[in-house]
Amino acid sequence: MTKSLYGAKEASTIWVYLEQAQGRLAGVSLELVGKARELTDGRGIPLVGVLLGDQVSGLAQEAIAAGADEVRVAEHPLLRQYTTDGYTKVFTELVLAGKPDILLLGATPNGRDLAGRMAVRLRTGLTADCTDLKLEEETGLLVGEVTGFGGGILAYIKCPDNRPQMATVRPGVFAVPEPDAARQCKIVSAPVTLTKDDIKVQVLEHVDGQGVDITKANVLVAAGRGCQGDLTLVNELASLLDGEVGVSRVPVDKGWASRDRMIGQTGYVTRPKLAIVCGISGAFQFSVGIEKAETIVAINTDAEAPIFEQADYCIVDDMFDVLPPLIEAVKRARGGNGGR
């Protein structure tokens, strides 16, 4: 058995990685703090948020309001931008000093980059891309739920002996907790030793996106292969409904839409109030990202498409025939609604 660098007997706390970029905490980090709060309540396990960056301690308050008992802040100019080397070194040193029992990270591109590297450096187990977390009643072990490929199988993974028990969780799986501004807790500044030589890569250019976050949309209009690269009507309907456009994997692979709009197993898990799914067959890999929607509408030419088994309202027709009258009907309904 590959031994981790410390054992279960020495480990006690739950840690959540507070991912930040450009002065903002990632939504998934707050979702994880909220979920970890729920797991620790009644068990008396301290919940620690860990924040790495340069001059980022101002973000600690947000994590405290979300439920952290303590925030450890590691600040250094060389942590201003995420690099695998810099973040892995500093975070691993924090872990070895604090010996958490559980370490949770968001399954964002950088969260997965960091978690995969740290798990090997710490010689421990990592349950990747969880869709749920719980603590086993008798043992208190972390049990991560992951989706098995194909037909909607869930697998439960645990890491009995190695510490920390690491897991990454997809954005949007848990709700962001209501902030409690009255919560008090410690903010601890952690020592950082880091030099330029520790970081092999060089970030030449860094561009922030438009900040599209489909996990926060109340209405999603989703398009897949059936849109054949033409998202005009889908865009129009989405903006009419104050929603966002989401896509399945095909439009991303074909370059019709950016990856931050991708719904599903390798994209985002979304929980809109209304999802209108156009030209998507509804394979498991997609539907896992939309099944938490309150109401689902499916429009597809193939009456046998699995998406119709997962929808509340089903229209067997070409999206290009249905969307124009749908857009008009929505406009009419809105007009009668006081022109919202």
Partner: protein, 265 residues
């Protein structure tokens, strides 16, 4: 600088659309299911071959898995790879990402003289994306995950790539050796060459290594080397949906739908 040596890591996976689950035994039914090279790994292989076309050098393919993977490694040779290695041993079975990345890293060490190791972004079955950073850590190499537009700067001994991030992107430069996971869909994988196919099948250089052939600690491979365990499986709960089919012309369907969605408008 000596000729560039790129190693592409591939995995063979069952075609997701053909996989069925036996709901009595809760196992994946693999009988009669066709396999394929994990599609994201085809992007990694294509990136490796394109870099070789530009800079010269050679491309080696490595996989860990059962003997039947040999067939797929021959396809990779037919696509253009120069050499292939299969790490195949019953002792490797049941490996999680820690044991898998360790085993692949030890195989890569044995192959030796590598500059760039390319992996697919993730596998279509496990989809954890954790093996590429794991290999990089075992080899103490730099890593670039979700890479596209890979460019080798031979004079500098560097590789440059664009990484897609939540919402944005960055361009980073890393010294070689480096492990990069290639973003899904970053390129169009080429078809295999029919002439090369005959060569690949008859005499393509393909080596199978067991655990004894690569320097591995038996406690760190396969099931014993895997700290995570599968504690159970269950069927995903299907949420109850109304499944109401709306009839009529598109106009009638649209009107019927809007009436049902008034709460959201």
């Amino acid at each position: 600088m000596r000729p560039l040596h790129i190693i592409a890591c591939v995995k063979v996976v069952p075609r997701p659309e053909e996989v069925r689950v036996n709901t009595e035994t809760w196992t994946i039914q693999r009988d009669g299911v066709r396999s394929e090279i994990n599609p994201p790994d085809m992007n990694a292989l294509e990136a490796a071959l394109a870099l070789r076309e530009r800079h010269g050098g050679r491309v080696t393919v490595v996989a860990m898995g059962p003997p039947m993977f040999v067939l797929y490694l021959r396809l990779a040779l037919a696509m253009g790879a120069d050499e292939a290695y299969l790490l195949s041993d019953r002792a490797f079975a049941g490996a999680d990402t820690l044991a898998t990345s360790y085993t692949l890293a030890q195989g890569i060490r044995k192959i030796g003289d590598y500059d760039l190791i390319l992996c697919g972004e993730e596998s279509s079955d496990g989809a954890t994306a954790q093996v590429p950073p794991g290999i990089a850590e075992w080899l103490n190499a730099a890593q670039i995950t979700y890479a596209e537009d890979l460019e080798v700067l031979p004079g500098l001994g560097m590789v440059k790539a664009r990484r897609e991030l939540t919402g944005g992107y960055e361009v980073i430069q890393s010294p070689l050796p480096c492990v990069a996971s290639v973003k899904v869909g970053a390129n169009e994988p080429r078809f295999m060459d029919m002439e090369r196919k005959a060569w690949a099948e008859a005499e393509g250089p393909l080596t199978v290594w067991t655990a004894a052939d690569i320097d591995v600690d038996p406690e760190m491979i396969g099931l014993p080397g895997s700290p995570t365990i599968v504690d159970g499986v269950a069927q995903a709960e299907a949420s109850e949906r109304k499944r109401e089919f709306l009839a009529g012309t598109p106009e009638e369907q649209a009107q019927a739908l809007v009436e049902r969605l008034r709460a959201y408008l």
